[in-house]
């Protein structure tokens, strides 16, 4: 789940809540889902130190992302 997909889902949920005549159970289920998406998206924003990595390709074609140290 990425920040982008969370934000998109949140927008979709908001527009359903706004535009559709939903029964209460559906509306509350959507709200709960929205809260979960909000939590996930907030978690993405807690990172305070940027990370610098390097892409390394092994001989077998598998990729590894390693810390890049100066």
């Amino acid at each position: 789940m990425t920040f982008e997909s969370s934000m998109e889902r949140l927008e979709a949920i908001a527009s359903r809540l706004e535009d559709e005549e939903l029964d209460l159970d559906t509306a509350l289920a959507l709200f709960e889902e929205g809260v979960a998406e909000l939590r996930a998206a907030s978690a993405f924003l807690t990172q305070a130190e940027a990370r610098l990595k390097q892409l390394n390709e092994a001989a077998d074609g598998l990729f590894r992302v390693d810390d890049l140290r100066d």
Partner: protein, 462 residues
């Protein structure tokens, strides 16, 4: 004797004949078939290794005897082949590769990939050739009439007996060749539709991971990382190292793009480098790199050099950034803005949910009121029913009779007195009237002869 000294042009006063006499083919001759030169020309005299070719310091003894010099007499005539080969060796030995200025004429690109042309001066011309495998650094073929400077080795083409310049680099006035090369590449990409603005993709609004194709040690990576750290440290920067200048750069950049495609875990790719000389930036004008960039499955930002440098990659990428820092600015959002957006999103969601709940509550209240109203109506109906029943009941009740002025006489055991026969004088009775009762004692009992006769009643005194 400075012609072969490194770092300087050949001395203009130096004639080929002097060279021929004073300094036979130098070390280069060793790489040629030795027999060819050796047949016609005596081996070079031993040279003082320390002093190189500096005749002033170490004058050579003139040891040639006239008869021994090839071509000095009819008897020692040399072959054309031997002479031209020797002339070539002498010329090649005499001149460092050097830049020559002139106007291009008779340019021909041969099927075999080599270019042939002449460089013209006022009253002179010089045949030139650019071998296909030696002209990697020449951006584009020159046009006839172009003023250029060409770097080449002066040599002799024995089959034609012509002196020619074997050209490895070339520059035209006003960047003509570079512009031409760009235009040629651009035209080919355009023909394939790769420059169509409709191809440009939207960049992801919130990338998690940005791949950066550049040199590991360049300023570009540092600049990009610094911007990401400042704007949005949640975004991960992944270097995909590549050579960004030199002959291997195009291939290296293509490989890095291919790696990003196969890896498939980047949301966005920035390809670029910091500013530099035009030649240093040239890999980003390479057609192969441009095509690899165009087919990259991940949205791309190009960031080559400084503000003014425009590269082919810039035309192909989904977004062109003037510098690597600007590319990073375009790539990642500002974290505080994201927080704000998230906060607003949370507020919207919560408002919508509250509103929905409030609506539900209202309709529940409406329902309850309806139910209550219904109940009241039912109770009222029952009350009215009850009232009418009561009225009916009342009409039939003996109490109604009392209203009309009748009385009921009850004995003290509660029984209703229906006949004087049940009374005798002195009996205690109760007389029930409309609005109360009275206790009475029977004084005398007078039975009626006839039920209908008036006065045939029991008299009682209250």
């Amino acid at each position: 004797m400075t012609a072969r000294r490194r770092g300087g042009p050949p001395s203009p006063s130096l004639g080929a004949l002097e060279l021929f006499a004073a300094e036979p083919p130098p070390a280069r001759a060793e790489s040629r078939p030795a027999s060819r030169a050796a047949r016609a020309v005596p081996p070079p005299p031993p040279r003082n290794a320390q002093n190189g070719g500096d005749v002033a310091e170490a004058p050579r003894r003139a040891v040639y005897v006239e008869e021994a010099v090839p071509g000095a007499t009819p008897g020692s005539a040399v072959s054309v082949m031997a002479l031209t080969a020797t002339a070539r060796d002498v010329l090649e030995g005499a001149f460092m590769p050097l830049w020559v200025r002139g106007e291009v004429s008779d340019f021909k690109a041969h099927r075999n990939g080599h270019w042939y042309f002449s460089l013209r001066g006022e009253d002179a011309q010089l045949k030139c050739v650019a071998w296909s495998r030696e002209r990697r650094r020449i951006p584009a073929p020159p046009d006839d009439g172009m003023q250029i400077v060409a770097l080449g080795r002066l040599t002799v083409y024995p089959a034609r007996g012509e002196m020619q310049l074997s050209v490895t680099r070339m520059e035209a006035e006003g960047d003509g060749l570079w512009r031409k090369a760009l235009e040629l590449t651009r035209a080919r990409l355009q023909a394939d539709g790769l420059l169509d603005p409709a191809r440009k993709r939207m960049l992801p609004r919130y990338p998690r991971r940005v791949a950066v194709i550049t040199s590991r040690d360049g300023a570009a990576l540092r600049d990009i990382f610094a911007v990401v750290q400042r704007r949005c440290p949640s975004v991960e920067v992944v270097l995909v190292p590549a050579a960004v200048q030199g002959d291997s750069a195009p291939e290296s950049l293509c490989f890095a793009l291919d790696q990003v495609a196969r890896w498939g875990d980047a949301d966005l790719v920035i390809i670029g480098r910091g500013g530099g000389a035009r030649e240093d930036l040239w890999a980003f004008n390479d057609e192969r790199v441009a095509r690899a960039l165009a087919t990259c499955p991940v949205p791309t930002i190009s960031a080559v050099g400084h503000e003014i440098d425009m590269s082919i990659c810039d035309l192909v990428a989904d977004l062109r950034a003037p510098t690597p820092s600007a590319a990073a600015e375009a790539a990642v959002p500002v974290q505080s803005e994201l927080r704000e957006r998230l906060r607003m999103s949370a507020a919207t969601l919560s408002a919508l949910a509250s509103e929905r709940v409030a609506r539900a509550r209202t309709s529940a209240a409406d329902l309850a009121r309806d139910i209550a109203r219904g109940a009241v109506r039912r109770v009222e109906r029952r009350r009215l029913e009850l009232e009418s029943s009561a009225a009916r009941l009342h009409a039939l009740s003996p109490l109604a009779t009392l209203d009309r002025g009748y009385a009921i006489v009850r004995t003290d055991d509660g029984g209703t007195v229906r006949s004087v026969a049940s009374l005798r004088a002195g009996a205690q009775v109760e007389v029930v009237l409309r609005d109360g009762t009275a206790a009475a004692t029977v004084e005398r009992v007078v039975p009626n002869e006839q039920l209908t006769a008036p006065g045939n009643t029991a008299e009682a005194t209250a």
